[in-house]
Symmetry: C2
Subunit: 194 residues, 2 copies
Amino acid sequence: MTVQVETETAAQRARRERILAATLALAARGGYEAVQMREVAERSEVALGTLYRYFPSKIHLLVSAMNAETERLAARLSRRQVPGATRAERVSFVLERSTRSLQRDPLLTEAMIRALMAADASVAAEVSLVRQGMSDLIVAAIRGDDAPTDHDEELAAILQDVWFARQIAWLGGRIGAADVWRDIHTAITLVLAD
Amino acid sequence: MTVQVETETAAQRARRERILAATLALAARGGYEAVQMREVAERSEVALGTLYRYFPSKIHLLVSAMNAETERLAARLSRRQVPGATRAERVSFVLERSTRSLQRDPLLTEAMIRALMAADASVAAEVSLVRQGMSDLIVAAIRGDDAPTDHDEELAAILQDVWFARQIAWLGGRIGAADVWRDIHTAITLVLAD
DNA sequence: TGCAATACTAGAACACGTTCCTGTTTCTGG
DNA sequence: CCAGAAACAGGAACGTGTTCTAGTATTGCA
């Protein structure tokens, strides 16, 4: 079992980017169900079989798209020091920005979160990437400057679980968009009582 | 818009129960994907169209099955006083029993949790029932005897979010069955530090 | 009891994710 | 540059959730 070295021609990189761009465009327009594999293939000018060679399932495709979006968000947030005197304030800042960023494009978010939920073991690696990115953001906010501890990781994991579950409740029509942030904020103040 | 009074003939009640029984049997045997609508219809000796008249989608069907199972669990747990001196101990007792009860039948659990995740707005009512049932269990455990407060409801909501998200992580192959309970226990002790 | 409405059966048909096949293009090592 | 390998295009085909149709049985009511 040899490890494949990262050799991707320019054409391949271009295809991958066209595919992801088409995915984001379709998702932003009509959410999860609008991301149809035939349509993605057609828009990215790639055969259906090729699409499946790049992304072995619709779930992989959408989780990869979410990972790219998460990286963009993280890059934007980590540009400068998170403001706030207490842990709760700093984490609130980060999670509110994240939540608002997602809610700005509800259909895109619906598509990505739905894929994240539907992910089975074959997508575990990609999902872990997304989760690790979020976790890093939260841990960095808890610690103003110091090195993170295991305890911080646990707190971040809980907050992320709440964050995730609240998004699902929102997608499931059980709570409104405003409730999402309110509930997450409640969890932050309960868990991070300084 | 008139409200339909609950008139269900004996034959209809029997059909509904045959359908749910077939669903549980198939789910316990092969999980979510083994619950195929044609197969459920055939086993419950009902036409496919009739199955869809009773349960308008596979998700409705599985969430309804989960609701029935949750009620059975709640009935068993509420039979006697929850043991434990502290809130954390009592909640741990209830959630460990719930978690173990689910993990005893991993494929059935996979089917039901997956449906719960995939639920969109059209299933919101049924999903809320399941969630309310779980919440009642947790709140009752937090309060030994007293009336619950809003604060208790919030704590229960957070713990349930963690519980739910950890089940998803387990289904997604990102953590093992043993980790599920360990993580939930961690959350309990962090959130309910007495 | 008779009849209109509703419920049910059996099965075809449709949609979309996924797989597979055949022929062509592009890449890579010698 | 050439031969073989790998990647790609185009599209048929399959599986399963869901919908639809036509005919039959059941129910509720005057």
